[in-house]
Subunit: 317 residues, 2 copies
Amino acid sequence: MAQDIDVLVREVGLRDGLQNLSTFVPTEAKLAWIRAEFAAGVREIEVTSFVPPKLIPQFADAEQVAQAALAMPGLTVMTLVPNLRGAERAFALGVHKVDYVVSVSRTHNLKNVRREREESLEDFKRIVAARDAAGLKGRTQLAAGLSTALGCSYEGRIAVDEVRRCAAFLAEAGAEEIMVADTVGYADPWQVREVFEAVLAETGKIPVAAHFHDTRGTGLANVAAAIECGIRRFDASLGGLGGCPFAPGASGNIVMEDLCFMLDSMGLRTGVDLGKLLDVRAIPAAHLGADSLTGALAKAGLPRHYQTAAERAAAIH
Amino acid sequence: MAQDIDVLVREVGLRDGLQNLSTFVPTEAKLAWIRAEFAAGVREIEVTSFVPPKLIPQFADAEQVAQAALAMPGLTVMTLVPNLRGAERAFALGVHKVDYVVSVSRTHNLKNVRREREESLEDFKRIVAARDAAGLKGRTQLAAGLSTALGCSYEGRIAVDEVRRCAAFLAEAGAEEIMVADTVGYADPWQVREVFEAVLAETGKIPVAAHFHDTRGTGLANVAAAIECGIRRFDASLGGLGGCPFAPGASGNIVMEDLCFMLDSMGLRTGVDLGKLLDVRAIPAAHLGADSLTGALAKAGLPRHYQTAAERAAAIH
């Protein structure tokens, strides 16, 4: 992480935000979005998913998007991979970070990738081996995500010990980042504390990131709870894009703009220019409709006389 | 506070939610809302404001609403009063709790009530004296609110020491509850901690309540931060009603339904039945339009297999 920021905010809207949308966002618009958000100060972006285009046509341009993003110096390019085959596509391009996800909920994992959770965990070892065999160790980082770690639409609450065991397995297998995800937005701040403390006890020096959804309004409260645990990496999506517009109740990731505002207001530098970030909304809005983007800061604007965390830090020194 | 709840949630939508609306909500609808929310388990409701009807026609029925609410056994009836004259109207009815508010921001106080902040603080002493002279000590509680305590649209950030001094004055003057309000939704969780710790140091055994607005998405994060400080009383409004629909950016109180869900999910009992509470939305929606109500829980519903805090507590014992 760069020395001049306190918290890494990662844009995942181009993956998690778009994967359920039937509207294909043109490749050039995706790249404009990535470029503009990078210019606003976002250092890391999950730009696409290497899933079969037949399954998710939105990502038919995965190679093109990833390649163009890799040409932006200074941007860390992450891509989701559902399996070894997807990882190989990512390795072929030399993406900076590969994001592989296992569901802690056995039922969800079965429904999602038609594999037992333990098979999916074992697959991560194969991805590590393939990365190393390709000579990419030290160049392509492997991040492992634990989805449904804070609740599952099939199973309800997930035992903390299950999360802990999966995290330990992935840490042992070589994960260079562990992402703990509240996939369906069930979490509350005290549950966040319990789960993240359990995960942190297993992961040692491996960075742990949080991926929250704001489905029931608790997204930023959960961020604040994770901050108290020492978490300094957060996924978010511009305008809270995500969820399925045809499934009432499904909702998106936490809103990137609101996340950056809250962190900055707490004095935690994200490196993101809030005004420039708000301007990026026009790009997805042009294709998805302005109504598809939510967010409180976009409506309310910055507080009067607002001083950024960086300005306040500079005033002190 | 009743023994069987951990956190008192107070509905303020009938006052803070309606005061800026041009649509007059019929008295019978206000009473239906109060009745339904009380039946859903809300124990305390700010039912109206004793302001001059010429200033806010919405509250032309203040006496009628307060009187009818007082006839509901078990409900704690609170009313806002802007000054001694308003307090006298409340005392004449014997309301359970009178809510008198001073702005910590001197500029906001001047603009709001055309008085210096120190005059407004002194007025609270006159209200205490009038309550005592009316023989209502022990029957009508006096709650004092500190508005703009976490930021002001005129002044920006407010010095914590100013909040502390106002709280100390009101505590000394006889306030039986101190409410700290983020009137314009500027606060972040760390600021909440700093301000509430300063206030709690001055207020001794007087209960302190938090009144947050969700203008910039941080409302529930601020609740969670206040919970960590030991705060156990929160204002909220059904569907987040409030703010001014004609002022872009203004937004309402934190959403009562989402607040109750988050607290309950944390294992903190509010006494509120979440399903019944969601049903109450239909009452204001019929008069203000469904679009005027927000809220994540209303859209997403409860998590699958959700167990309430009370159910979980019962399962343990």
